[in-house]
């Protein structure tokens, strides 16, 4: 008799996770099913409550009467484009108080991630709504990052925004700012 359909669906879902192969998916499924149910439910509910802030795209839990998570940097003239939510803290610790825009990944057609998946046109919308004096792209030095940087430069140019991004290689300058403040 083959295993329950739900069990197979669980293994398949785990197999889709980055870094998990078919064997590891089986191991994870067995492990998960032995955990107390509450901890699993809590993790999923926390993920469901989170949304992306419409201005900076950080993860946050929307509050009544609060439009953005990042009201404190309204009117600031610098914008840093970073790859992940966790990158924000590194720049804050360096003393940076300007705005952020989180990409939530890099362009990689090989992984099925294109401009639509990253919703990169939102960057143009943000820049049109609140113009900036300086924009820094804080990206690693790999192929996906360079493709992303090229695409963002093109996007800004085509939108006729009067600004050129400064690109920072975060692999060699982790947490450093593109500008000497």
């Amino acid at each position: 008799m083959s295993s329950a359909r739900e069990y197979q669906a669980l293994v398949r879902a785990l197999d889709q996770l980055p870094g998990i192969g078919p064997q590891a998916a089986l191991r994870c499924a067995r492990w998960l099913l032995q955990q107390p149910q509450n901890s699993l439910l809590e993790a999923l509910q926390a993920a469901q409550r989170l949304q992306q802030c419409p201005r900076c795209r950080r993860y946050w839990q929307p509050q009544p009467q609060v439009e953005f998570c990042c009201n404190s940097d309204l009117g600031h003239a610098d914008l840093l484009v970073v790859v992940y939510d966790d990158d924000v803290e590194a720049y804050r610790q360096q003393g940076y108080r300007g705005r952020f825009f989180i990409l939530h990944g890099l362009l990689s057609p090989m992984q099925g991630i294109g401009p639509k998946q990253l919703r990169l046109s939102e960057l143009v919308t943000v820049l049109q709504r609140e113009p900036v004096a300086r924009i820094g792209l804080c990206l690693p030095s790999d192929v996906e990052a360079q493709t992303t940087a090229y695409y963002i430069r093109q996007l800004i140019q085509r939108a006729e925004l009067p600004i050129q991004p400064d690109v920072m290689d975060v692999d060699t300058t982790a947490g450093e700012l593109p500008w000497p403040i």
Binding site: G21, L107, P109, M110, Q117, Y150
Partner: protein
């Protein structure tokens, strides 16, 4: 040692990556490698691997060529890699396509105008995976007639159409078959026709098409 290029890298375990590689001898396949050994895109490697539980593991990796890319050539190379990932069957050696991939990347690295290289790559790819286009016969096996008009059906091939405003003139199709490369309208036709056939064979659109702003 096997010659290979990387088509896709995905994190797998704490210190391991899962790679989709395209190799001269085995075609496309998945292998695991440690972060220490990790190959980069758009480089040619001599490599070896040994069998393991989930996927074979890379044991040796030496870079033998690097195709440095800039600007739009990044995008074109990403498109070529995406095509390979979407079309290549597992573990089937495709020597002609392997050669063409290297020529194409070399041309991109040399900053050649990419369009002709892309059309050639698409043509060889479709031929090698069994979806080659005939530029001399229609879907019924009849010769293309110079003054008739034809539209490309992505699955079937050229279909003769009566409407004088749609499709392409047979003369264009035959001129392309003869290798006439001086007429810009033929290049546009080839781009659109190849795109039609490629899209018809895929279950979802190519992400790299969205890169062209």
């Amino acid at each position: 040692m096997k010659q290979l290029v990387v088509l896709r890298r995905q994190p797998w375990r704490e210190n391991d990556w899962l790679l989709d590689v395209f190799s001269a001898t085995t075609g496309r396949q998945s292998v695991v490698c440690s972060s220490r050994l990790m190959p980069d895109y758009y480089r040619l490697y001599a490599a070896d691997w040994r069998d393991e539980q989930d996927w074979p593991r890379l044991t040796v990796l030496q870079q033998t060529e690097h195709w440095p890319l800039l600007n739009e050539h990044w995008i074109c190379a990403a498109y070529v890699n995406e095509l390979l990932l979407r079309f290549l069957p597992d573990r089937e050696p495709l020597p002609l396509l392997w050669q063409q991939y290297q020529h194409t990347l070399h041309a991109f690295a040399e900053q050649h105008y990419p369009a002709p290289w892309l059309r050639l790559f698409e043509t060889v790819l479709l031929q090698q995976v069994g979806y080659g286009i005939s530029w001399q016969q229609d879907a019924l096996g009849l010769p293309i007639v110079p003054n008739a008009r034809y539209a490309m059906d992505g699955q079937q091939g050229w279909q003769r159409v009566q409407d004088q405003t749609s499709g392409y003139l047979g003369e264009w199709i035959l001129a392309w078959a003869k290798g006439n490369s001086r007429r810009p309208e033929l290049w546009r036709m080839a781009r659109d026709v190849l795109r039609t056939v490629i899209d018809a064979r895929l279950d979802r659109p190519l992400v790299s098409r969205d890169f062209l702003i």
